[in-house]
């Protein structure tokens, strides 16, 4: 089932990820099979420790499954070299984290430019692409500010601009509203929805907020104890 004929953006086939904790074997993700279509906005719902962030990391290529296969646009991440996985993270995936994960020493502009440096984008093209990404998240006025000079919502928007700057096809968001108040969190989710609709970007968002998931995502996938509880239906 590999190759370009695959019409899913991401597909997992019986993926498991287990860790050795002393004598015990912990199955963080246990035999999960799920398909996410291009342009779909999927909420990965579950309580703390349900394995949703681990599954997201596997989709990002930050981690490798213990068994099973993960396909991103038809390419099996489990069979990729670490160099290819880095390319996958650079060109196919954009990531947003609960803790924003901006580099505190860099300005907003430099933070957004960082993925372009890693992807070896020509210097002449960088300024335009940074501006484009920052304007999309409506932060153009704060380019020279450092993260500490931005509010939580602004930091998350800056992280979003950084995730978008390499024009990925899939956006993976790990609890993007977890550190934000309700109104700011809603604003970020509106932005995600807008990006999904205007750019046709596939979004997988990890959250434990069922209400928000229902309001913004096309589909809710629920996990508990590392297993898939429900793969949901498109709203």
């Amino acid at each position: 089932m590999t190759g370009t004929m695959d019409e899913t953006a991401i597909r997992t086939d019986g993926v498991s990820r287990s860790y050795q904790m002393g004598d015990a074997l912990v199955r963080a993700v246990d035999d999960v099979s799920i398909s996410i279509r291009p342009k779909e906005f999927v909420a990965l719902l579950g309580s703390s420790g349900s394995g949703k962030s681990t599954l997201l990391n596997l989709m990002a290529g930050l981690d490798r499954p213990s068994s099973g296969a993960i396909f991103a646009h038809g390419r099996n991440l489990a069979e990729m070299s670490s160099e290819d996985l880095a390319q996958h993270r650079s060109h196919t995936i954009g990531m947003v984290f609960q803790a924003f994960n901006l580099l505190p020493r860099m300005t907003l502009e430099e933070n957004v430019e960082l993925p372009l440096r890693l992807a070896e984008v020509e210097r002449n093209d960088r300024a335009g692409r940074v501006r484009e990404a920052v304007e999309r998240v409506r932060l153009a006025a704060r380019l020279t500010h450092r993260p500490s000079e931005l509010s939580g919502g602004e930091q998350q928007r800056a992280a979003l601009a950084r995730a978008l700057v390499n024009r990925p096809t899939i956006l993976l968001a790990d609890e993007p509203t977890g550190n934000l108040d309700s109104a700011t969190g809603d604003a970020i989710l509106h932005l995600l929805r807008e990006i999904n609709e205007s750019m046709g970007m596939t979004i997988v968002m990890v959250t434990h907020d069922r209400d928000r998931a229902a309001r913004f995502a096309h589909r809710i996938v629920t996990m508990a104890d590392g297993k898939l509880v429900s793969s949901g239906t498109q709203s």
Binding site: N57, S82, Q87, R89, P115
Partner: protein
């Protein structure tokens, strides 16, 4: 990631922990400085020794004698290789030797004891003929006054000790005249049957046609003193350090002064022709000495040079430099531990940052190169600072030594020398050591699990 981006990020990271990275860089600088100071001392001493020796004119010279002149009392033996009589060092031989490739000049050793009249008083001294090449060989560096203005001028240079004999103020001698009194050799007119009358039964001359001999005539010649020199220039191996009144070689040759070998030449029947006891051959450089020596030996003459002595000297200094380099490198080895420590600390501090970079698409290779770049920048900056610091140490050592030498009334010296190859080598070595020290931290940073790194608080 491209090299320019890597360097920029590395520079930014280094500026973040400024104090720690500065101290680490300073450690490298001290290590490089110790290496540079040690090596500059070695090179400086080597240059000092080489300069002194090259000034002596011994290492680019070949001393030529005739096989006939191997010692008094020995008969002229035929050359065993050719079974012909040993060749005489005459004007023709001198011409032939002068035409050998890489030979700069050929001159005889003219040195004779005589008496000098100065301001009405007689002074016994040793006079030596000085070849034109002596002007550039360093022996006349620091001369008070000037070198001879021409090849055949009646000018003299006085060695300082003799100058002190002539005057309590040696510098004031320049421009004054002195009179040289010497014994000139004048050939006697040939007498018919002279050979038969004088040869006797033990004559070694086969045709019995002996030289008519010569008479000794006292002469005087006035020279103007043009300079006073500190060192006693060498005019060849035999003349080393023995001339106290120096006159142009061409003038010395025209004086036809009676020499020690004149008596022997009468017996050989060669006194009517110009011949030399020995010739000194000045070669372009020490590396050409061997080929010139071979060529002259092939002509049937005996040669001698100090080529082997220079080889030994170079060997001694190479070992000396090696030992100094090893001691100097010890400090750099200690500094490299500082780099490892700093970079390992940086990994712990920037664990999360490494995780973020990997999440954004950095490959293991990028992280490794980033840490390498940071180590390399520390090595480069430390190397440049170290060379500067080493130069300062060398200068301070030279200054201190010269203060001491001045108190001892000795001329100053350049104790340390930092040639360009040492500057480039020290900076290159500093970068190489820093990169080697960065191998472990860089590979450790590259292997960090991004998921764990992102969880790190």
């Amino acid at each position: 990631m491209k090299a320019r981006d890597l360097t920029e990020l590395a520079g930014r990271n280094l500026r973040e922990a400024l104090l720690r990275n500065s101290l680490t860089t300073l450690g490298i600088a001290v290590g490089v400085a110790s290496l540079v100071a040690m090596l500059s001392l070695g090179v400086g001493l080597q240059q000092l020794a080489s300069k002194r020796l090259s000034r002596s004119g011994l290492f680019d010279a070949v001393f030529v004698t005739s096989r006939a002149n191997r010692g008094f009392g020995r008969p002229t033996r035929p050359d065993p290789a050719t079974a012909t009589p040993a060749k005489i060092l005459d004007a023709e031989a001198r011409q032939k030797i002068a035409s050998v490739p890489d030979v700069v000049e050929v001159y005889p050793e003219i040195r004779f004891p005589t008496e000098v009249q100065f301001e009405g008083k007689p002074y016994p001294t040793m006079v030596a003929g000085i070849p034109p090449s002596a002007r550039t060989d360093g022996a006349f560096e620091g001369i008070k006054g000037a070198f001879f203005s021409g090849l055949d001028v009646d000018e003299a240079i006085v060695q300082i000790e003799f100058a002190k004999d002539l005057s309590t103020q040696p510098d004031s001698l320049v421009g004054k005249n002195l009179t040289l009194r010497y014994a000139e050799r004048q050939p006697l007119p040939a007498e018919p049957n002279a050979g038969r009358n004088k040869s006797g039964a033990n004559s070694s001359s086969e045709d019995g046609n002996l030289s008519p001999g010569f008479s000794i005539v006292p002469r005087e010649k006035t020279f103007r003193i043009v300079g006073v020199v500190e060192t006693e220039p060498a005019t060849g191996f035999g003349g080393f350090g023995r001339g106290r009144l120096l006159i142009p070689m061409q003038v010395a040759e025209t004086l036809r002064i009676a020499q020690a070998n004149d008596l022997r030449e009468i017996l050989r029947g060669t006194s009517s022709k110009v011949s030399y006891d020995s010739l000194t051959v000045r070669v372009k450089g020490p590396s050409q000495v061997k080929s010139v020596e071979d060529a002259i030996q092939a002509m049937g003459f005996t040669t001698f040079s100090l080529l082997d002595a220079t080889k030994s000297l170079r060997q001694v200094f190479a070992v000396f430099d090696l030992l100094l380099g090893i001691f100097g490198s010890l400090a750099l080895a200690v500094a490299s531990l500082g780099i490892i420590n700093t970079l390992v600390m940086a990994i712990l501090e920037r664990r999360r940052e490494i995780g973020i970079l990997k999440a954004l698409g950095a490959a293991d290779r990028d992280i490794r190169r980033l840490f390498f770049a940071e180590a390399g920048v520390m090595g480069l900056v430390g190397g440049i600072l170290g060379v500067a610091l080493g130069w300062l140490i060398g200068s301070a050592l030279t200054f201190g030594t010269n203060v001491y030498l001045r108190r001892q009334e000795l001329p100053p010296i350049d104790l340390s020398s930092i040639p360009w190859w040492m500057v480039a080598g020290a900076i290159g070595f500093s970068i190489a050591v820093s990169l080697a020290a960065g191998i472990y931290p860089a590979s450790r940073a590259a292997k960090l699990n991004p998921v764990e790194a992102l969880r790190y608080e």
